[in-house]
Amino acid sequence: MSMTILKPNPNFVDVLPQEYKDLIDNGPFGGEKVLADLGTFKELIEEHPLCAGCNLALAFRLMIAALPAPEDTVVVGSTGCSSLAFTQLALHNVHSLFGNQNAIAAGLKRALSIRFPDKTKDVVVMAGDGATADIGLEMTLHSWFRGEKITTVMFDNELYANTGGQESGMSQEGSVLHMAPTGKKFGKIDLPDIAKAAGCAYVAVVSVSRPRIVATSLKKAVLVAREIGPTYIQVHTPCPTNLKLKASEGIGAADKRRKTDYAFVEHTTDAASEYLSAQGIR
């Protein structure tokens, strides 16, 4: 999208919400922003209804800020806590059904390639662990098998948050949760490993407690998806509300896990590494 499309018709400026005007005057469209610029420009997300202290909200915020070309990025979401923030996002985005995000994204990406043969439109999927690894798993994996050029982000809060904290396939073994009243009977689904077997060109496991890593991984993932193939980021965003933590404790909970079983892992295929180096990204 060119900036001329964004610029409001001067006759209408006075009826536009201030938020929109700020976005045009001081937003991230056009000029690339980096993490350190946060706090100095108008972000693409407006006030969202997610919980105070929500780690998912933080990961969402960081990743949206790290998009390499927001003016040509569309985002596909799914039902879940994140979908409540999507309505406040100043990028074209889709919510249709719970779990079908990678199917929607595949159709979108292919159609956008037809409509804009000379332009890259980045398609980024962002959805919960339930949407990605449970109800949407088949569509997640098959989009990877087919090599769809999209980025898939899982907000791993290790449960179904939006419906009140039920067990998901990504919950930890033994967790006592709704619908797992005697504790979960099996371990976390190893989706990063499966992603590799399924042909993802770039896979990263990151913790929300490391904003810098979240941002750089997202950028790499989007770039690799443009040219090489599907990419996957699994970001750990434990849910303070359903873990019954104080709002301020969520980030610490994430960091603690980062130091034990949720460490940073990155897998880059040779083709992807080569491509990233060519772009000057290490």
């Binding site: 006030e47 569309v74 596909v76 199917a103 159609a111 088949e138 569509m139």
Partner: protein, 386 residues
């Protein structure tokens, strides 16, 4: 992905349907799907096999290989395919797909979503029975399930209907005031696998392309400014606004189907009426019409005066037209290829004095409906005033 067939001449749907010269070919219903798709200038078609749909989507695949369709692939299941097609339509291109029976039910949740998202997808349903027990045979039960999904529903009697209905469906579905999906139903095997004469136009034309600019909802392409960007959106401001947003959207989808009437009527009648003054009337859609035509032949000279209403548009349901057509009927027979009798129920709920209706005959399980059975119901069912 290909760039399509630039060599073909772009024409309007009206030209395609009414003006262009036609040739007669001897083809199946599945091939009629191919011939419509060949000329429909489709961007994205996505397939998942199921009998008796597979042949038509194979043929669409061949059109892709030949460059008539720009993008085509096999999805992992029908639920996914219907979402993939939705994604493509959201991005602003013309899409086509097909499924039936179990596939329709597998994908079910997508259909109200399509309507709600205002996607002008055209989909063919070569109808088939649903499990359990499994049967690959013709049965129109799935139409009964789909009645309230918001989509426009057309029921073809034969391969010619399939060809014509599909071609004008793109034009109707894509109208700004419509912009909802259209399902074209063709009875599995009875139409898909039966070779018959069909009049088609030459292969050097195609419909004008989909124009994303005319969509009543913005496409997901980041080519228009992001909308709804404010701190406290109105919709969160009041129970009533929030409820009303959902309710009015549903009403708008329903209204779009009603507005589609005008556009549909450019190309087809809601119903066709043979012998309208007869006191006994058969009402049918799909191949139940064909079987009824034979029944009329058999009844010639029997002394019974019988008419036939061929219903083509199932949604929006032509209530007024049906009422008018059946105003003076004394007895109404409704042959159907399904157990539930959804058409009989529609009509019974529509016309006054619905005790004139003799529900049935109904045939399901895949057998053809011998015209003799319709004759029998007319001779016995009506006379004894069932």
């Amino acid at each position: 992905m290909s760039t399509g067939k630039p060599s073909l001449r772009e024409v309007s749907a009206e030209y395609m349907l009414f003006e262009a010269k036609r040739d007669e070919v001897f083809i199946t219903g599945s091939e009629a799907v191919r011939e419509a798709v060949r000329r429909a200038n489709i961007d994205v078609a996505i397939a998942y096999p199921i009998t008796p749909q597979s042949e038509s989507m194979h043929l669409v695949g061949e059109l892709f290989a030949e460059g008539y369709v720009k993008e085509y692939f096999r999805g992992e299941n029908e639920f996914a395919v219907m979402s993939q097609v939705a994604g493509a339509a959201m991005a602003g291109v013309r899409t086509f797909t097909a499924t039936c029976g179990p596939g329709t039910l597998r994908a079910f949740e997508n259909f109200p979503m399509w309507s709600g998202a205002r996607l002008p997808i055209v989909i063919a349903f070569p109808t088939r029975a649903v499990n359990t027990p499994l049967s690959i045979q013709p049965d129109t039960i799935e139409m009964g399930f789909l009645l309230e999904t918001g989509m426009i529903m057309l029921h073809a009697e034969n391969a010619q209907d399939v060809y014509d209905m599909l071609l004008f469906s793109f034009d109707v579905a894509e109208q700004t005031s419509v912009h909802i999906p259209i399902g074209v139903f063709l009875d599995g095997f009875f139409v898909t696998h039966t070779r018959q004469k069909v009049r088609v136009v030459s292969e050097d034309v195609k419909l004008a392309p989909y124009n994303p600019g005319l969509s009543p909802v913005p496409h997901i392409d980041m080519e228009t400014p992001p909308f709804r960007y404010m701190k406290d959106p109105f919709v969160l401001k009041s129970n009533f606004i929030s409820y009303a947003a959902h309710a009015s959207w549903q009403q708008e989808v329903a209204a779009a189907a009603v507005r589609a009437r005008t556009h549909l009527r450019k190309f087809t009648k809601d119903l066709e009426h043979e012998n309208p003054t007869a006191p006994i009337q058969i009402v049918a859609s799909g191949t139940a019409v064909s079987q009824s035509r034979v029944a009329l032949r058999l009844l010639k000279g029997s002394g019974l005066d019988v008419g036939l209403v061929k219903l083509k548009t199932i949604r929006p349901f032509p209530s007024k037209e049906i009422k008018a057509a059946l105003k003076d009927a004394r007895s109404i027979v409704i042959p159907e290829f399904n157990r539930a009798g959804w058409l009989a129920k529609e009509i019974a709920a529509t016309i006054p004095n619905n005790d004139r209706i003799v529900p049935g005959p109904r045939v399901y399980g895949g057998m053809t409906m011998p015209p003799e059975v319709i004759v029998d119901v007319i001779k016995n069912g009506t006379l004894i005033g069932v």
